[in-house]
């Protein structure tokens, strides 16, 4: 797991770490038992303040997604989304094939994302979410 921090983003750095971790959990890139990178590692790679990393990890811990074990590090305890369901379903493979076909027909990246987004919006309408603090 390597975090990519965008400076000057309206999203604070700690939230970027939280979001990227959740994304990795959703995609099954991180699974229960996996260790998150140490604060030292993240700081060395991104030059952000160590407390920012710790704040993000605390947030993930409060959400019940990770657990800090004294002297050992921070470990994933729960996955997000349906990583296991996705793994055995063939959904990802079908989607890959669909993307390949779109590309063959000459659609570019933006076209493909727009089409996929429109299909999702049409079939899975968004639920009203409570507004998150900035």
């Amino acid at each position: 797991m390597e975090y990519r921090l965008r400076r000057g983003s309206s999203m604070p750095a700690y939230q970027q770490i939280v979001q990227q971790t959740e994304q990795a959990l959703r995609l099954g890139l991180l699974r229960p038992g996996d260790k998150l990178p140490t604060a030292r590692h993240v700081v060395a790679a991104t030059a952000i303040n160590p407390n920012t990393v710790l704040r993000a990890y605390q947030e993930l811990q409060r959400a019940g997604l990770v657990e800090s074990r004294q002297g050992l590090g921070t470990f994933v305890v729960r996955s997000l989304g349906r990583a296991e369901t996705i793994a055995g379903s063939g959904l990802r493979e079908e989607l890959d094939a669909w993307v390949d076909r779109a590309a063959e027909l000459g659609l570019d990246r933006e076209d493909v994302l727009a089409l996929a987004g429109a299909a999702v919006d049409a079939r899975l309408p968004q639920q009203a979410e409570p507004e998150l603090p900035r």
């Binding site: 921090l5 400076r7 604070p12 750095a13 140490t38 604060a39 030292r40 590692h41 993240v42 700081v43 060395a44 790679a45 991104t46 030059a47 952000i48 303040n49 160590p50 407390n51 920012t52 990393v53 710790l54 603090p133 900035r134």
Partner: protein, 309 residues
């Protein structure tokens, strides 16, 4: 990670120019506390006193007034010198010595010398160990000096404009390596810069010095939360301290400090960025200075009974 332990504390610190009779103060009445584990950006205009403050913390300049305590000792005592690393702006090195020889001398002078830590930084600039210091580029010389400081495993790292002559490709990597120690717990970093962007996301505390005086000090989150813009339609709360006014009283906007309100991240107020805040204080020399609670000197019995507000 930062808390009640203190790495650097100044109480009424003043340093006078040895000869200048009129307006002798280079630093005047500076009081603040940097907690252990902080990465504190020291900012201010050129000539504000940033470098002098770092030199004083390194024990190179003796306070003429007040007190400066570093790692629990007076700044001019020698007992904690092994725990402090200071990289100033002189960019000086023994020009005749090879980089490897500089590293060897560092090892012989420091009990906690860690050669691998030096190497990490040297590798970022592809600094050859066999080169004489005098033949290196300015940026490479800076890397050597940072490497020599980093290898001593300091508990207090004092960096004066550390990134000034490094190219943009290595700036972030250098900063990352220097800050990684703070993640391990016991290290505190004070770094001066007049480029606020260098401190963005790296510093969690800020100390603004202008004309030898502390104008603003605190945790960055604390400073941002305590300041907000008010538009012409907003009523000025009784507790608001104006910092900078734009336009007329009836049609302008104001940057104000409100320290008793329920300010918190995510509230609906229009908060300044760190850069806007620093510029507003420098442009408004008559606005009151402010020490946020996290950087106020500790209350103590005896001479000073109350925290300095």
């Amino acid at each position: 990670m930062t808390g009640r332990r203190t790495a650097v504390e100044a109480l009424g610190l003043g340093i006078r120019h040895p000869r200048r009779a009129n307006d002798p103060h280079l630093l005047a009445d500076c009081s603040f506390r940097v907690p252990t584990g902080a990465v504190c950006g020291v900012v201010g205009p050129n000539g504000a006193g940033k470098s002098l403050l770092l030199s004083a913390a390194a024990g190179l300049v003796r306070p003429t007034e007040g007190r400066l305590t570093v790692l629990g000792q007076p700044s001019d005592s020698e007992t904690m010198l092994a725990d402090i690393a200071h990289v100033d702006q002189e960019r000086s090195l023994y020009r005749q010595l090879k980089v490897a020889e500089l590293l060897d001398s560092g090892r012989s002078l420091n009990a906690r010398w860690d050669r691998a830590r030096a190497q990490e930084l040297l590798d970022l600039g592809r600094v050859p160990l066999t080169a004489r210091a005098g033949t290196l580029s300015g940026g490479q010389r800076t890397l050597v000096r940072l490497a020599l400081a980093h290898a001593t495993t300091p508990r207090l790292l004092l960096l004066d404009e550390p990134l000034a002559d490094l190219d943009p490709f290595v700036r972030r990597a250098v900063m990352g390596l220097l800050l990684a120690d703070v993640a391990d717990g016991d290290c505190t970093v004070l770094l001066s810069s007049h480029v606020l962007a260098d401190l963005d996301e790296a510093a969690d505390h800020l100390l603004l010095i202008d004309a030898g005086r502390v104008r603003l000090a605190g945790q960055t989150t604390e400073l941002l939360a305590a300041h907000r813009y008010l538009g012409p339609a907003d009523r000025m709360p009784d507790s608001a301290e104006p910092v900078e006014l734009h336009g007329s009283a009836s049609h302008g906007t104001a940057l104000v400090r409100i320290t008793d309100g329920p300010a918190r991240p995510g509230d609906e107020y229009d908060h300044p960025t760190l850069e806007e805040l620093v510029i507003a204080y420098v442009r408004s020399p008559r606005a009151d200075s402010w020490l946020a609670p996290s950087m106020r000197p500790m209350p103590r019995t005896g001479l000073i009974a109350e925290p300095i507000a």
